[in-house]
């Protein structure tokens, strides 16, 4: 039907309630979590099979297409596989962590169902080869993430944050739908390849630019570009920590990736316009995120604003529209997903043991929970871009790509932002690790081992990619090449016609 990994994710998602019901009757509370982790492993195995298929396919593109250009269509190139692999791995860490973290919550079956649904939606977005197919999976991702943000509905904060997120994000989806209708009105199709083919002639078409603005706004709400970012800090701090990690590590980047894929394929003829717009938005996003992060006294809010700043770097890399810039951005997406998941999961461990997110009350918690503290320090140093760790390489690559694309001013501003961000990362390290413990943090106990295992692997990955970045840069480079190879993408489905 779809491709095997997507089939596996969707089918196993549908089966989760049955498994959960049986487990509930027998009284095993941990079964749904273990089942979800196993499902993700199965999906990863199928994805590996798909990767082998993509490797030998012509031009590196596998298609599942009905009658093009009217029918639904899936196109999988190396970029799709790269992103899907990231989603499944980060999802696996979050799920394994959730088994212990969420044990005191009710509704666990639904929780894991929605988690699998969200990962399936994100995978579908990068696999889609048709704008409406993308939209279907987009809605799957959005719906499940709204419910996951509002999951702890007995408190006021998740409900309020969930409502705000739902309204803003649904308005964004409606904007994308309006843009789709205009594209349909211009070309009579919604297939990406056919759109790319048809709109190359439309260089000076006023309506194309209106559509472009709608697309940037619509995807920009999800990608938290600065004027539309206000849902992100609330949603990230109100959601359960593994969900925050998923949202901040991969879901927001899915928005950015879908945006850049649509821009590259569909709006190829208007490239100078959107390139500049994206670069300007990227600088706003960096400044917004970094300046607001300096003022925060809430651990998860601080991390959420740091996510916004990092999205600014990623979007700047995309805005260069060069092979270097895209490689750097995709590499930074990988690194940021690993680092931010590590930080959010560590923050979740602190919050679980102390029941507070206030940095003033969390002083010196690293001394009471030394193992988690060390992992948190590794994550913070990595994201502050210090040389032996992974954040350094990708951030330097983004700046280098900016300089090579002759966007000197923007590169300078990016560098200034990276320097600015070091201030609050060091404040975070000082507060969490170096200061004397407060009363609240003294009451904390060590985090359980099953929560520490994902942290250990993520921290190890931070160091490993930092010391040995070669293969990861190679994979990102290959993915960037697939993203930029528009002709092959169009030929893969239109070539036979």
């Amino acid at each position: 039907m779809f491709t095997p990994p997507l089939d596996a994710l969707l089918m196993l998602m549908v089966a989760t309630p049955a498994v959960g019901w049986v487990a509930y009757k027998k009284g095993y509370r941990k079964v749904p979590g273990i089942y979800a982790s196993a499902s993700l492993l199965v999906a990863a195995y199928f994805l590996y099979g798909l990767y082998k298929e993509v490797e030998v396919a012509e031009n590196g593109i596998v298609t599942r297409a009905f009658d093009i250009p009217l029918g639904a269509c899936l196109e999988i190139d190396f970029f799709s596989v790269f992103m899907a692999f990231l989603y499944i791995i980060i999802g696996l860490f979050a799920t394994v962590y959730s088994i212990k973290f969420m044990e005191r919550d009710s509704g666990l079956t639904e929780y894991y169902t929605l988690m699998l649904g969200m990962i399936a939606g994100m995978t579908g977005i990068v696999f889609a080869g048709d704008f409406f197919t993308l939209f279907v999976f987009w809605e799957l991702m959005c719906l499940t993430s709204y419910a996951l943000v509002a999951f702890r509905k007995q408190k006021w904060e998740p409900i309020e944050a969930g409502f705000k997120y739902l309204i803003m994000s649904a308005a964004g989806s409606a904007t994308i739908l309006l843009a789709m209708s205009f594209l349909y009105g211009m070309t009579g199709t919604l297939n990406f390849a056919a759109l790319a083919d048809g709109l190359t002639a439309a260089t000076s078409e006023g309506w194309l630019y209106i559509t472009l603005a709608l697309v940037i706004v619509g995807f920009g709400v999800k990608a938290a570009i600065v004027p539309f970012h206000t849902w992100l800090p609330d949603a990230h701090s109100a959601a359960p920590s593994p969900i925050s990690a998923m949202l901040s590590g991969v879901m927001v980047q899915t928005g950015a990736c879908a945006l850049v894929r649509v821009l590259l394929l569909v709006f190829n003829s208007a490239q100078p316009a959107w390139q500049m717009t994206l670069a300007v938005f990227a600088v706003f996003t960096m400044f917004g995120g970094n300046l607001m992060a300096l003022l925060q006294d809430d651990l998860k809010r601080l991390l959420a604003f740091s996510t916004i700043a990092n999205l600014g770097y990623i979007i700047f890399g995309f805005a260069t529209v060069s092979h270097d810039g895209l490689t750097a951005s995709l590499f930074h997406i990988t690194n940021h997903a690993i680092m931010k998941t590590l930080l959010f999961l560590c923050a979740g461990a602190f919050i679980r043991q102390t029941k507070t997110r206030d940095l003033r009350k969390l002083r010196g918690i690293g001394k009471i929970m030394p193992v988690t503290g060390v992992f948190f320090a590794i994550g913070t140093i990595a994201i502050a871009a210090f040389p032996p760790l992974n954040g350094f390489w990708s951030e330097m690559m983004i700046i280098a790509a900016g300089v090579r694309a002759e966007m000197i001013i923007f590169s300078t501003l990016t560098l200034a932002n990276m320097a600015l961000s070091v201030v609050y990362y060091f404040r975070l390290i000082r507060i969490i690790i170096l200061e004397e413990p407060t009363k609240v943090s003294k009451r904390a106990t060590k985090a359980p081992v099953s929560m520490l295992i994902p942290l250990l692997i993520l921290a190890f990955l931070c160091v490993f990619i930092g010391v040995y970045p070669g293969p990861f840069i190679g994979a990102s480079s290959k993915a960037a090449e697939a993203l930029l190879n528009i002709e092959a993408y169009a030929d893969a489905v239109l070539g036979g016609l």
């Binding site: 809605e139 969930g162 705000k164 309204i167 308005a171 409606a174 309006l178 919604l190």
Partner: protein, 104 residues
């Protein structure tokens, strides 16, 4: 046949009305209605285009997309109303300005 431009103008006007509704209304139910207006602006535009593909015929692609998209709009509304009921349980009001405890 009326010019297509009027349909597009109407769709864009609906979109602007929806955005106005989201920006200025206090009642949470009205915000959900604003989302519906936004989505329906896009639907109107799709259906109008599919009718103007060629005279006397319609293009089924636009209709197909609208049929599926109505389903998604329903899903979003259902979830939004679920969240609204909880917000009402917590605050005993539907006024969205009373529950702006979150900082920007």
């Amino acid at each position: 046949m009326i010019s297509l431009n009027y349909y597009i103008a109407c769709a864009v006007a609906l979109y602007i009305i929806g955005m106005y509704c989201l920006a200025s209304k206090r009642n949470m139910i009205k915000l959900v209605m604003g989302i519906e207006i936004l989505v329906n602006a896009a639907h109107l535009s799709f259906v109008a285009f599919s009718a103007y593909r060629s005279v006397g015929y319609i293009d089924p692609l636009g209709h197909a997309i609208v049929i599926m998209s109505i389903g998604f709009a329903g899903c979003i509304t259902a979830l939004a109303l679920t969240i609204v009921t909880y917000a009402y349980k917590h605050y005993k009001t539907l006024d969205v300005r009373k529950l702006r405890r979150l900082r920007w």
